[in-house]
């Protein structure tokens, strides 16, 4: 047995989620393994599985393969004091921050819309002082989900070191017992609720994502205490069994399944439909002012009853066919 003294450096910001692997094992122990019909509605999934104060993680890439229907419903039900992993986060974190649902956020990327510029309302929200933040990077949150999915409390990595991103994170350092080298130890991230939109799911919750760009969704799904799936299409169980190699989230991770066609609008759904750039343009223009923001949210979220009504409002199946044509290179509008 060796005796080793190590200096541990520590990020100074708050760690929003628990890391004890035994506490989380106890939670997962209680999670049902029953093969049962988990199909429900957006309304019920949100009211029954998401509580004020919960910490959320959203799948996809923020404006690609996002569970928009669940996000709108969270806003509509006016959930309060939510936390969130702002991982590759675009429209998702904007909605929750702008609507006032969010009070804390692990940030790797928020506010920005990649080459489209920034969301003024998200910036206002994140500059308001009402949302506590802790900074990370995309890789950091990806690995934090991995560590949780593997039932650990931390994982060593070679990022963040030497920067203010480390200082304003809740990471620590750890020394490799083999090489003596210093690593950034990232705390596992176990969300209370994960929300993921997929191409295909059966009623038990076995999920398949067609294009293979999984970001960190397989890990996020496994790491979450509760998991809500929206799917473009519910399929018979036998269709899942026909291609087990395509299943990326097994049923035992899943608590609710909701069929939501066009469910990633205005986001891209790989192989199904392209971004609705007209919508994003209108949105980013609208949120420049408080009034514009209120008008937009009244029109598209508070003022509609469900996602079917929303899809009608944005142009219905005709619009969605147009976006499909761009995505599938049938016609290109640009």
């Amino acid at each position: 047995m060796n005796n080793e003294t190590t200096d541990i450096e520590e990020g100074e910001e708050e760690l929003f989620t628990p890391v004890d692997p035994d506490e989380m094992r106890a939670a997962f122990h209680k999670k049902s393994r029953a093969l049962k019909d988990k199909v429900t509605t957006v309304k019920k999934a949100v009211s029954e599985l998401i509580h004020d104060g919960d910490y959320l993680a959203v799948g996809g890439f923020g404006h690609v393969r996002i569970p928009t229907a669940i996000l709108y419903e969270i806003v509509r039900q006016n959930k309060k004091n939510l936390g969130m992993a702002g991982h590759t986060s675009i429209y998702d974190s904007d909605l929750l921050a702008t609507s006032g649902c969010l009070n804390r956020c692990d940030i790797s990327y928020v506010i920005g819309y990649e080459i489209r510029g920034l969301s003024a309302s998200a910036r206002r929200a994140f500059e308001s002082g009402k949302i506590k933040v802790t900074d990370w990077s995309n890789g950091a949150l990806a690995w934090r989900f991995f560590a949780a999915s593997a039932g650990l409390s931390f994982i060593p990595t070679r990022i963040l070191l030497g920067t203010d991103t480390f200082k304003r994170s809740a990471a620590k350092t750890v020394t490799c017992p083999f090489t003596g080298k210093k690593y950034a130890a990232l705390p596992a991230l176990y969300p209370d609720v994960g929300i993921i939109h997929v191409h295909r799911a059966d009623t038990y919750g076995n999920c398949q994502i067609d294009d293979g760009i999984l970001i960190s969704d397989t890990y996020l799904a496994r790491a979450s205490r509760r998991l809500i799936i929206t799917t473009e299409e519910l399929v018979p169980h036998e269709e899942i069994r026909a291609n087990p190699q395509a299943t990326v989230i097994p049923y035992w991770c899943v608590d609710a399944v909701v069929e939501v066609p066009y469910g990633s609008h205005p986001g891209n759904m790989p192989g199904k439909y392209w971004f609705d750039e007209d919508f994003f343009k209108m949105y980013l223009q609208g949120v420049k002012t408080e009034e514009g923001t209120k008008k937009l949210y009244d029109e598209y979220i508070y003022g509609v009853d469900d996602f079917h009504e929303y899809i009608d409002k944005i142009g219905g199946t005709e619009k969605m066919m147009e976006l499909r044509n761009i995505e599938k290179l049938i016609f290109s509008r640009t």
């Binding site: 506010i111 990649e114 900074d135 070679r158 030497g162 760009i213 999984l214 640009t334």
Partner: protein, 257 residues
């Protein structure tokens, strides 16, 4: 005499030239994407573009809008996870990474997080690291593409989002970052900048057409070193411009923003 071109076109053309064939490059949206596509169509048919969300080497049917969108894996070699891609970089398999930022200092440290002196009360809040810290930590050579002025090129960045050479030679290694990795070039509208090997400080290596060395110094908020011999940046060639405008970005998404 070369054709007319705008500053963005110059940035894309210059960035495309420093990419080596048979290398792997982390590609983000915007200028880096256009530069990589341009390089592929000219001198680097076999550069492998890697996207942080999981896409590898797509045949792009159009410019991706997001590093996670469906174009980034369209007819690619592989579609994978962000974890796999970051692990690939951490293992030492990614040669180039492209970065931007709101501020940069003489050691190539980048800020894309906030302006102000109180983290908890920022004057301006930016998106944050995204993949930038990962790319700047793990790739062998990071290339920054940015316009140059004294607001961006500052003595001290308000927040070190992404590590350059930190406080100078040896600092990356001491912090625990991978040996031999770090900043390589900064491509701007005025000049191509590199780093002095001894001090790890930024230096002028080449000035762009119509720009003087004096102009470059004037637009920098810290003292820039100078390479022993300062080159003149070649103007975009007609072929570069033609391919850029006709094949890479016909809709002007990047070059006519």
């Amino acid at each position: 005499m070369s054709a007319d071109y705008n500053p963005l076109e110059l940035l894309v053309c210059v960035a495309s030239r420093i990419i080596e064939d048979n290398s792997t490059a982390f590609v983000g949206t915007g200028v880096p994407m256009a530069a990589t596509m341009l390089a592929q169509k000219l001198h680097c048919p076999n550069v492998t573009a890697i996207f942080e969300a999981g896409g590898v080497a797509p045949i792009l049917p159009g410019l991706p809008i997001s590093v996670g969108d469906s174009r980034t894996s369209h007819k690619g070699f592989m579609a994978s996870t962000m974890n796999d891609i970051m692990e690939t970089a951490q293992r030492g398999m990614v040669d180039y990474g492209f970065l931007g930022g709101a501020q940069i200092d003489m050691y190539g440290n980048l800020n894309s997080t906030m302006i102000g002196d109180d983290y908890r009360k920022p004057k301006v809040r930016f998106p944050g690291s995204g993949g930038a810290n990962d790319i700047g930590s793990l790739c062998w050579r990071t290339v920054v593409i940015t316009p140059m002025d004294t607001r961006r090129f500052v003595e001290k960045v308000d927040f070190v989002t992404t590590p350059g050479y930190l406080t100078g030679k040896g600092a990356r290694e001491k912090a625990g970052l991978p040996l031999g990795s770090g900043p390589y070039k900064v491509i701007t509208n005025l000049a191509i900048l590199g780093y002095d090997e001894e001090t790890c400080r930024m230096r002028i290596e080449s000035v762009n057409p119509g720009v003087t060395i004096e102009d470059v110094h004037k637009n920098c908020g810290f003292e820039l070193l100078e390479a022993p011999q300062i080159e003149k940046t070649h103007e975009p060639t007609e072929e570069e411009l033609r391919i850029l405008r006709e094949e890479v970005d016909p809709d002007g998404y990047i070059i006519r923003r």
